[in-house]
């Protein structure tokens, strides 16, 4: 099967279950492709070759003895470096956690393992998930398989790049303000951020606790749906996880008749990239032709979303990252011998500039005398953003718009301008602050010089309407073929 195009999750799992192939072959192929793409992409921080092959052999042994080996039988996947698999280094692409091997396995990883999926690698990312391009990694920048001079998006850069390069059928990222949806858009993938609380955060190393959600990448919506449903459902180790078990997938519909799709004015600003606007409008036209009704809606507080996000997220981060003090794990700097100087030196050497910037910002907005003006006010605006969506959903069933204001930008293009970088998230942050389910999926391409760059459509649903968002995504992918197109590097890797 070495010269074949990469398979999707459902396809490969079906083959393993029917014993047309086996888990060892699937793992070996993924590991081989990983090595082949490694130099070009820099998408991987750690490879669990021995663990992956041992798990694959065990699965094949159980399969041979007639045991049901699960809906994701033998499917190799990759984890973002902020996810815990016992004994496998999860350093968040930070020097401060270099060498850290978690002593436990995340609930969502365990659920995938229980379903037969096989983690093979830990992927590169922006340090502590802070960034939109992958350039904030302490371990080098991840490249986009569609154009190696460009970003695959961030912060889940390595996971997006591995799936786009056809190395693994799916990979996990975490989406705090768009860190899965934006790279999905820039890498021609489906990236799905479920309703906040759908997937337990136990074992996801926190950036901003009230926003973080584990979110999968795959080439098809059907695949991300299966992976999402496998991971979700209440976890007693995360009290913020929704109380209900996994949601059922909505059945395929013949048409979209009766479905109202809200198109927010604020998601099509005058400054929006022309190609992004054009592809998004074409996608909306596809949905309309399929029977959906397009409704103009307004999300008036969207303009404050970025500011609000950078107050709330950095406040939580300043506290969440306090534990990286050199006392219990990670490298410890000596300092002058006092505890205070050990802390200062460890953190000064361990964290990168962007992480420091956000810790300082978050510390500031929580400080006595500034709390009311910044943090408390941000919480109020967050409530207003949520109300915007609630009001919009009185008039429509799903909101649609672009995922990213631009296609993949060149590495280095925005790395000296934090605010320009923050604006990459302008269209994804509102759904994060409101805790809503949001899907990015391929809706076409733009030519830029010699490159053909993907563009993503974003679908946002009301809280808990995960099945509705994913069903619309599946329907759109039946009407379009963009998601089947492979990055140039994927062809090379599969060859």
């Amino acid at each position: 099967m070495s010269a074949r195009a990469p398979q999707g999750v459902l396809e490969l799992a079906a083959d393993v279950r029917a014993r047309r192939t086996n888990a060892v072959a699937a793992a070996e192929q993924a590991l081989a492709r990983l090595e082949k793409s490694r130099g070009a992409l820099n998408a991987v921080l750690a490879v669990d070759r021995d663990g992956a092959l041992a798990r694959a052999r065990e699965l094949d042994r159980r399969s041979a003895s007639g045991t049901d080996v699960g809906p994701l039988a033998g499917v190799p996947f990759a984890l973002k470096a902020n996810m815990c698999l016992a004994g496998v280094e999860a350093n968040c692409a930070s020097r401060v956690l270099a060498g850290y091997k978690p002593p436990y396995t995340a609930t969502f990883v365990q659920r995938l393992l229980d379903a037969g999926a096989n983690p093979i690698a830990i992927t590169n990312m922006d340090e502590f998930a802070m960034g939109s391009s992958g350039e904030n990694s302490a371990y080098g920048t991840t490249k986009n398989p569609w154009d190696l001079a460009r970003t695959p998006g961030g912060s889940s850069s390595g996971s997006a790049a591995l799936v786009a390069a056809g190395v693994v059928p799916f990979a996990l990222g975490s989406d705090t303000g768009g860190s899965v949806r934006q790279p999905a858009a820039l890498s021609n993938l489906a990236g799905y951020k479920p309703t906040y609380g759908r997937i337990s955060r136990y074992g996801l190393i926190a950036f901003a606790s009230s926003l973080d959600q584990v979110s999968p990448f795959a080439r098809s919506v059907a695949d991300v749906e299966l992976v999402t449903r496998t991971m979700c459902g209440h976890d007693e180790r995360d009290t913020t996880s929704l109380p209900e078990p996994a949601f059922d997938a909505a059945p395929d519909a013949d048409s979209l008749r009766g479905l109202r799709i809200g198109v927010p004015d604020e998601y099509f600003p005058a400054t929006l990239d022309a190609a992004v606007r054009a592809r998004t409008e074409e996608a909306l036209a596809v949905l309309e032709r399929a029977g959906a009704q397009l409704v103009r809606v307004s999300l008036p507080h969207s303009e404050h979303a970025i500011a609000t996000y950078y107050v709330v997220a950095t406040a939580e981060a300043s506290s969440n990252l306090a534990r990286y003090d050199g006392v219990r794990y990670g490298p410890r700097a000596a300092g002058d011998g006092s505890l205070q100087s050990m802390y200062a030196a460890t953190r000064a050497q361990g964290f990168g500039d962007e992480v420091k910037r956000r810790i300082l910002l978050g510390t500031y907005v929580l400080s006595s005398g500034y709390y009311d003006a910044w943090y408390r006010r941000a919480l109020k605006v967050r409530t207003l953003l949520l109300r915007d969506f609630e009001r919009a959903f009185e008039r429509c069933d799903i909101v649609a718009g672009p995922t990213s204001p631009t296609a993949a930008f060149k590495l280095g293009e925005k790395s000296d301008d934090p605010v320009a970088m923050y604006l990459s998230d302008v269209l994804t942050v509102p759904a994060s602050l409101a805790g809503l389910p949001a899907l990015s999926l391929p809706c076409g391409f733009v030519a830029d010089g010699a490159s053909r760059l993907p563009i993503g459509l974003q679908l946002i649903g009301p809280a808990r309407a995960d099945a509705r968002v994913l069903a619309l995504g599946r329907h759109y992918q039946k009407l379009t073929a963009f998601h089947g197109e492979l990055a140039p590097l994927a062809h090379e890797v599969a060859a």
Binding site: P103, G203, A206, S209, T240, S319, R323, V327, R328, Y343
Partner: protein, 499 residues
């Protein structure tokens, strides 16, 4: 804390102002108590004082990246019981907040506590003099680990205690003297022990006290407030307050501008009997409290509240009153026997089984508690003795029936404490049954009367007490087994029968 001087309680009970040269002490107490749960506040680890360092830990309480806290319902239940026992109001909705600061014993870099919405408000304790110490609030929080500095150049960290549940109760500044502080703490400890909420054992760190002390002139605003820490016994709390009051008053009285009372934290040095400055206000932390995003708000419904109210046993005040009215004990005895829940349970069981609360009270106080006190053990250690309430009840019964005299009974009790054997068996073993067989006794009595004409004449002349001189020889003849009362009766009868 309220900003007005305490006005509750009658002025008549207020301490003598002359004691502080006309200055009025203003004292508030902050008490941390460890809740008596099986497991920690946010994880499933158990906690035992004195366990091997870092053996009672997990991913959550060592703050492994990605681990999340989960609220222990038992801790909430005990916290609510503590609040109810102190007459406080339980908030139907409260929340956790993060208190951010760096220290090596604080693994997450923040403590999960409650800031502006504690689970419990109000309540208080009325002292014996009628003065009420009001509680401002009680909140639920996790403990930090322990930094150990006295093992050479390095600081060692033990995270066993990290995330153990605490309640912090904060009083209004209603305390008016070191003695009131001591009494308040005694009563608080007693109530929390009875509520089953905490062991309140200062030696094991399950109760810790911080004190705020200031003074003012009558009718004038309060002066600068000083916080006292490092108080490891109730006696030290009152000693520290005494010293701090004297220090502050001496500074104000000196009228020396080079001396100032500053708002600061001071540590009490119990050996030197002084307080020393630890940190000033300018070094005060900005804890950057904000709502804990990893935990849902705490919602307490009527059913949960009713459950905790039902689980709350009889509190010490009610028990003391009942011991006096129902069991006929003196106020003093009732006070002693309710001083610990274990002791009061032991006493009540024994009193019920022997049917004589007064005897049970006397035996426990005169024999058992005295023994414990001689060994410097607390009264609550009664539950660990080899004698059970049923054992003592049996002994009391034997003494009642006349099988044993008092010295014999004491001897049996000592043997019971040593061997754990039953009273009846020991009476046999030690050959201590009282001889009440009148045949044998009469014989010894007749022998005792021989040649005692003076005594016989005195008795016949109406001085019956004179017979006492003959009881001793009879007891001696019986080797201590005779019942002295029966002996006296026989002797008197025999004298009367004499011509």
């Amino acid at each position: 804390m309220s900003t007005t001087p305490a006005t509750v309680g009658s002025a008549a009970t207020a301490p003598d102002p002359a004691r502080w040269k006309g200055w009025i002490p203003v004292i508030g107490l902050e008490v941390h108590c460890q809740l008596k749960t099986r497991t920690k506040l946010f994880c499933g680890c158990e906690y035992r004082f004195g366990a091997e360092p870092n053996t009672l830990t997990c991913a959550v309480c060592t703050a492994q990246p990605g681990a999340l806290p989960v609220l222990n319902r038992e801790a909430l239940a005990l916290a609510v019981r503590a609040g109810l026992a102190l007459g406080a109001e339980i908030a139907p909705w409260s929340k956790f907040d993060r208190k951010n600061y760096f220290y090596c014993d604080l693994p997450k870099g923040y403590q999960i506590s409650q800031f502006d919405r504690p689970y419990c408000k109000g309540g208080g304790i009325t002292l014996a003099n009628g003065h009420r110490i009001r509680l401002t609030r009680i909140h639920l929080e996790e403990d930090a680990g322990k930094a150990i500095h006295d093992r050479g150049a390095q600081t060692l960290v033990d995270l066993n205690r990290a995330s153990v549940p605490l309640i912090e109760s904060v009083t209004e500044a209603d305390v008016r003297s070191p003695e009131e502080a001591h009494e308040y703490l005694d009563r608080l400890k007693e109530i929390l022990q009875y509520a089953g909420a905490s062991d309140c054992d200062m030696e094991k760190g399950s109760l810790r006290v911080d004190v705020n002390v200031s003074v003012h002139r009558p009718g004038e605003p309060w002066r600068k407030r000083v916080e006292l820490k490092n108080l490891n016994s109730f006696r030290n709390v009152s000693a520290a307050i005494e010293h701090e009051l004297a220090r502050q008053i001496a500074i104000y009285e000196s009228n020396d501008p080079s001396q100032q009372v500053v708002q600061e934290t001071r540590l009490f040095d119990a050996q030197a009997g002084v307080t020393r400055s630890m940190r000033g206000k300018e070094e005060a932390h900005d804890y950057r409290y904000f709502p804990e995003p990893d935990l849902l708000p705490i919602e307490i419904d009527a059913a949960f509240l009713a459950e905790q109210r039902a689980a709350l046993g009889e509190l010490p005040e009610a028990k003391r009153a009942r011991f006096q009215s129902e069991l006929g004990l003196s106020e003093y005895d009732a006070g002693v026997l309710t001083s610990s829940p274990a002791l009061s349970r032991w006493f009540e069981e024994c009193a019920r089984l022997c049917g004589s609360p007064k005897d049970a009270a006397n035996w426990i106080q005169n024999e058992i508690l005295r023994g414990l006190s001689a060994e410097q053990r607390p009264a609550s250690a009664i539950a660990e003795l080899r004698v059970t309430p049923a054992g003592l009840a049996e002994l009391i019964g034997l003494a009642h029936k006349g099988t044993l005299n008092v010295p014999g009974a004491r001897q049996v009790l000592r043997a019971m404490l040593e061997t754990g054997k039953g009273a009846a068996a020991l009476v046999q073993e030690l050959g201590l049954e009282q001889v009440s067989d009148t045949g044998a006794l009469e014989q010894w009595c007749r022998e005792a009367l021989v040649g005692k004409d003076k005594v016989i004449a005195d008795v016949k002349a109406g001085k019956e007490k004179a017979i006492g001189a003959l009881v001793g020889p009879v007891m001696k003849a019986s080797k201590g087994k005779a019942n002295p009362q029966v002996v006296t009766e026989i002797l008197l009868r025999l004298v009367k029968e004499l011509p």
